[in-house]
């Protein structure tokens, strides 16, 4: 610490912070022009943009993974604070749900037994179990544009474009881009997401379409079909992109457009399971193009086309 007088202090302050006025140069307009050019290329979905994006993503993935480690206590505290507020209501809801589930468990056991009997009689081939890998979410989308998440598993972990992605609670979306050690998952709330689904006990066919909101909507529902609030929504498997029967959510609004609340908490994703589901539709598409971002929109448009039929 040094001791100074008033005049010395004023002089020192003037020396330390002389009035700085930056002269206008062409760097800022140049960088702005570059940004606009990149924006236009992104809008055109140019393949160059996708390859640049993945090169940078691969470089930053280890940094993001490392950054998550010291931040984990903060995230944990945030989650707990939110849980604390909703715990009392949640407890009551779980009690009610438990009562209902006990009834369903009994029915499920009965049905399983009947199914085993019928399968034995008809000699149907049992569905093979789907393998999966679990990965951590290392980055989230933010802003008005997309709803996606990045996971720290990629081609090196046998993850391919088009594979369905689940959390413990239900379907989250599917892989749309893969790099060697990271992959991008398009969430089912994204405006580009289209998933063929069954709704309710009557298995009404519909298409689950994201609109960047929290609750995706059901489209292409037959006008005379009976859909009510609380009906379960699951993947129909039409088009072959998703295995049939994957849990998705429940109908929360019976007025048009019908809205679905996903079972998976899409706002607080931490670990996701990528199902190694090799569908014929994906094999056909991978024959047309590679596994990079250029093909990202293809499964959506394909499933949309299939769903419209």
């Amino acid at each position: 610490m040094r001791y100074v007088g008033y005049e010395q202090l004023n002089l020192a302050r003037q020396r330390a912070s002389p009035p700085r006025r930056r002269r206008f140069n062409m760097v800022v307009p140049g960088l702005m022009f570059l940004s606009v050019a990149l924006l236009v290329l992104s809008r055109m979905e140019h393949s160059y943009v996708s390859s640049v994006r993945w090169r940078i993503t691969e470089l930053v993935t280890p940094v993001l993974s490392a950054a998550l480690i010291p931040l984990e206590p903060l995230r944990w505290a945030g989650r707990n604070a939110t849980d604390l507020f909703s715990r009392v209501d949640e407890l009551q809801r779980l009690r009610d749900e438990n009562q209902q589930l006990k009834g369903w468990q009994w029915r499920a056991n009965e049905l399983e037994r009947k199914f085993a009997d019928l399968s034995a009689t008809s000699k149907t081939v049992r569905e093979t179990a789907i393998e999966f890998t679990t990965a951590r979410v290392i980055a989230n989308s933010s802003g008005a544009f997309v709803r996606s998440a990045m996971i720290n598993a990629g081609r090196d972990n046998k993850v391919k474009t088009g594979y369905p992605v689940m959390s413990g609670d239900g379907l989250v979306g599917r892989v749309v881009e893969t790099g060697p050690s990271a992959a991008r998952v398009l969430l089912l709330t994204d405006v580009n997401s289209r998933i063929p689904v069954f709704v309710g006990p009557n298995a009404v066919r519909a298409m689950l379409a994201g609109d960047n909101g929290a609750s995706p909507k059901l489209i292409y529902v037959a006008p005379d079909s009976e859909v009510k609030v609380g009906d379960e929504v699951s993947a129909s498997g039409v088009g072959g992109l998703f295995p049939r029967g994957l849990r998705i959510g429940t109908v929360i609004s019976a007025s048009v457009p019908l809205r679905v609340k996903p079972h998976a908490g899409l706002d607080a994703l931490e670990y996701l399971s990528v199902l190694f589901y090799e569908s014929p539709a994906l094999e056909m598409m991978s024959g047309d193009a590679g596994t990079n971002g250029a093909t990202a929109a293809t499964p959506d448009s394909a499933s949309a086309r299939i769903g419209q039929r």
Binding site: V4, G5, T82
Partner: protein, 170 residues
């Protein structure tokens, strides 16, 4: 110390950009505030001393946010650069005291968020929902004093100046 005082502005913007990309578990509508956090630092440093925060750092931070949040490339870099120009303008205004600086930030933020909404709408050729933008601007406006305090504490130049002690009669 001289080197540190030159590096701190760029480092703080880069760190806040990194924080903006991480999955914090916020609801999707509230998540729009995260990319505005680096802008607070950009405004803070540029309004005080633009020489210490190069334009290319602002551009690269915006670009990395675009890449890792899967947004369109160039969107956040353009917004940050527009904010950089606004902050340079704010630096020209003779203001004293944290209240006046906060007001300057709020007015810059208001202009910037309108630009961000207009650019999103132009990108989609459709009027996008303005409410997430408005909430994000309000949240960033409220976060400014706290973040400005942290940045001020991290600035070696400010620390050196406040360590001077007056002695009567010298």
């Amino acid at each position: 110390m001289q080197v540190l005082s030159q590096v701190i502005p760029s480092l703080s913007v880069a760190l806040l950009s990194l924080l903006a990309m991480l999955p914090w578990g916020l609801p999707s509508d509230s998540r729009f505030v995260l990319p505005l956090l680096p802008y607070i630092a950009i405004h803070y440093w540029t309004a005080r001393d633009p020489e210490r925060l190069p334009e290319w750092v602002v551009f690269l931070c915006g670009l990395s946010v675009d890449v890792l949040t899967n947004g369109p490339l160039g969107y956040w870099s353009l917004i940050y650069l527009a904010g950089y120009v606004l902050a340079m303008g704010a630096g020209e205004v003779r203001s004293s005291g944290p209240g006046a600086r906060w007001l300057l930030f709020l007015s810059s933020m208001a202009m910037l968020i309108v630009c961000a909404w207009a650019l999103s709408s132009l990108y989609y050729f459709d009027l996008v929902d303005w409410t997430p933008f408005a909430w994000a601007a309000v949240a960033a406006g409220l976060a400014y004093p706290a973040l400005a305090f942290v940045l001020r504490s991290a600035d070696p130049r400010t620390a050196r100046r406040t360590n001077d002690r007056l002695e009567r009669g010298v």
